[in-house]
Subunit: 243 residues, 2 copies
């Protein structure tokens, strides 16, 4: 089981999560209604349609939101990183499957008290609005990927997204030789990209053969030339860096 922090003061997502704008007093109130839950890689947090009596922030690890059709076709519709928010105030049942793809720690708030607090504390709603607008932008970028990009472009885009995230989390600077772990199985990548896992595997091999990426093991990728990768992704250069 991954371990959890205790105090909001120490919290690694303090300044990015839904609580980011809260002052000391507000934080103290939140601290009273919060509790941590941990999940191991592969565990399901909630199933679509289940009653969900909490909302939460991802503290560490990665979770996914997926939708499933009756015949089993699956599409990932959200990739939740540390500080991202799970659940919707005012909604009683989960709309998506939430799954831990790595070991995961979530900071949970019982829904009722959280909603009451939202009414009294504009800072929370303001921050949640900001985060939701960001997610909507990300979803729209994703729609372009799903609707119009080739398999090769989709793979390159995914790697670029992960690389940018690592940079923005301060894990490494842009100038260094870029190297990163893909925290997803080939199947999860396929669910993300609207492909089959075979196509994912083939295109990874193709990008490797063409020197766009270097594979070190199955999950570790080195990017010798980031601009080349962006080009392969079909994105406007620098898209995603300016806001």
């Amino acid at each position: 089981m991954p371990s959890a922090p205790q105090e909001c003061g120490d919290c690694p997502i303090r300044h990015k999560a839904v609580c980011a704008r809260c002052d000391g007093d507000e934080l103290a109130l939140l601290e009273e209604i919060k509790y941590y839950r941990s999940f191991e890689a592969g565990q399901t947090v909630v199933w679509s349609g289940d009653r969900m009596d909490f909302v939460a922030s991802v503290v560490t690890g990665i979770a996914t939101l997926t939708q499933t059709m009756e015949d089993g076709r699956r599409q990932m519709v959200g990739l939740l990183l540390p500080s991202d928010f799970v659940g919707r105030p005012g909604r009683e049942f989960a709309a998506y499957d939430v799954t831990a793809t790595t070991d995961l720690v979530m900071c949970c708030f019982r829904k009722k008290p959280f909603e009451e607090m939202m009414g009294r504390t504009p800072h929370i709603g303001q921050r949640l609005l900001e985060m939701t607008l960001d997610e909507l932008d990300a979803a729209r970028e994703w729609m372009l990927l799903l609707g119009r990009k080739t398999a090769r472009e989709k793979i390159a885009s995914l790697i670029a997204i992960i690389a940018r995230r690592d940079v923005s989390l301060g894990l490494r600077s842009k100038s260094q030789r870029l190297s990163l772990d893909i925290p997803l199985t080939r199947e999860a990548m396929a669910d993300y990209l609207g492909l089959t896992l075979e196509t994912v595997s083939r295109q990874m091999s193709a990008l490797r053969k063409d020197g766009v990426i270097v594979l070190e093991g199955k999950r570790h990728v080195v990017i010798p030339d980031f601009d080349r990768l962006i080009e392969e992704a079909g994105d406007d250069s620098d898209g995603g860096f300016l806001v």
Copy 2:
């Protein structure tokens, strides 16, 4: 030019738009900073990357948000109906092309005063959060469509979406013989669905041949059996009716 209403009291979107929760005083303040703009079908409202010094609500008509890649591939990422909100508080440049697909009237607010008012009037931010969360849900539904549905399912889904909207706007009851106009060209449908316009046309013909829909002219569709349509769309039955 389509004509515009004058008073918030008469406004057809009064109780659904971003101003829905505002009381009389707040509405009076909004009334001072609002102005109407009209566009003819086909006109562009703003181009992606342009400076955008206003935010707005769609009053009547339909607009689209689209993203374009350098080589011209286009993906629609938003379909804006009456009461939907355009623009993002705090953002200076438009992130998407906004186009009027029918004659369009928008209720605009200059961005600066609107942002200031948001700070002082929680009702606006609250409502905007609600609307943004709804849009995010819609975007995720759309992602499933783009990533995993067949061309035939995509077409059936689009028709079902339009039909549901017409019902929810009270234009017709569910029990009646369903009949609706598609307010999009075949090309716009293709941009919406991540298809080519030829495939859209072919699948429309196929659904007609199989009796799922009846075409009366190019843009008017009769749905003899709504459940059959839903089945063709690959959706859970009743998906979208319960919230």
